[in-house]
């Protein structure tokens, strides 16, 4: 059974058509090897995340989904700074450092869509002086946002 109902898919397809500019790549890392999901809950969640991403990627020609296995593809995991799974790196014209750990369901599905549109446009709605402040910061900043789907 698909994650997205047809009317939801139609809504997202329209939003993507109107708001996506540049290409978006979803780099998904799963704890699987050889196409076989590991037994237990973690493997099932990862497979469900992959299905959600595949359905989303099918809604615009500007979206590409690359599926990696953390074990089989350590080079890619290193390149994207991945240590835990399931995780999705949302990449636009450049890597803005945004990673989504876990399942983008419930309210967090909207977060994923907003993220994809933001990296596609290469801009956000932050205030000019906020942007200036962040540009001037020389320190590394690591923001972790803990969420739940409901």
């Amino acid at each position: 059974m698909p994650f997205l109902q047809e009317h939801d898919a139609a809504f997202v397809r329209t939003r993507f058509a109107q708001e996506l500019r540049g290409d978006v790549t979803l780099e998904f890392f799963a704890p699987v090897t050889g196409g076989l999901a590991l037994p237990g809950q973690d493997g099932e969640i990862a497979e469900y995340v992959r299905q959600i991403l595949a359905e989303v990627a099918a809604l615009s020609p500007k979206i590409r989904l690359n599926v990696h296995s953390l074990m089989a593809d350590p080079e890619a995991a290193k390149a994207f700074g991945i240590a835990r799974t399931p995780v999705t790196a949302v990449i636009g014209a450049q890597d803005y450092g945004v990673r989504f750990y876990g399942m983008p369901a419930g309210y967090e599905f909207a977060t994923l869509l907003d993220l994809m549109i933001a990296v596609s446009q290469g801009s956000t709605a932050i205030a000019p002086h906020t942007r200036e402040f962040l540009t001037r910061l020389s320190q590394d900043i690591h923001v972790q946002v803990f969420v739940t789907p409901t």
């Binding site: 990673r99 750990y101 967090e108 002086h129 200036e132 900043i141 923001v143 946002v145 803990f146």
Partner: protein
């Protein structure tokens, strides 16, 4: 700048390490944390605090 969105229920070890009892909980550089959506200038003050800098953008917007 790196940003991780973490589904707390799926990563209980992280949720425990950062004492996540309510969401959204934001942790910056492992040192500064707050709960709930904050206006942008407030968020930037937390970022400044985590970065160890005095100045932050004005809160006039």
């Amino acid at each position: 700048m790196r940003t991780d969105i973490v589904e707390a229920g799926e990563f209980p070890d992280l949720a425990e390490r950062y004492n996540v009892y309510a969401v959204p909980k934001i942790v910056i550089n492992d040192t500064v944390e707050f709960v709930g959506a904050q206006p942008e200038p407030h968020f930037m003050r937390y970022v400044a605090q985590a970065a160890g800098v005095q100045e932050a953008p004005p809160a006039d917007e």
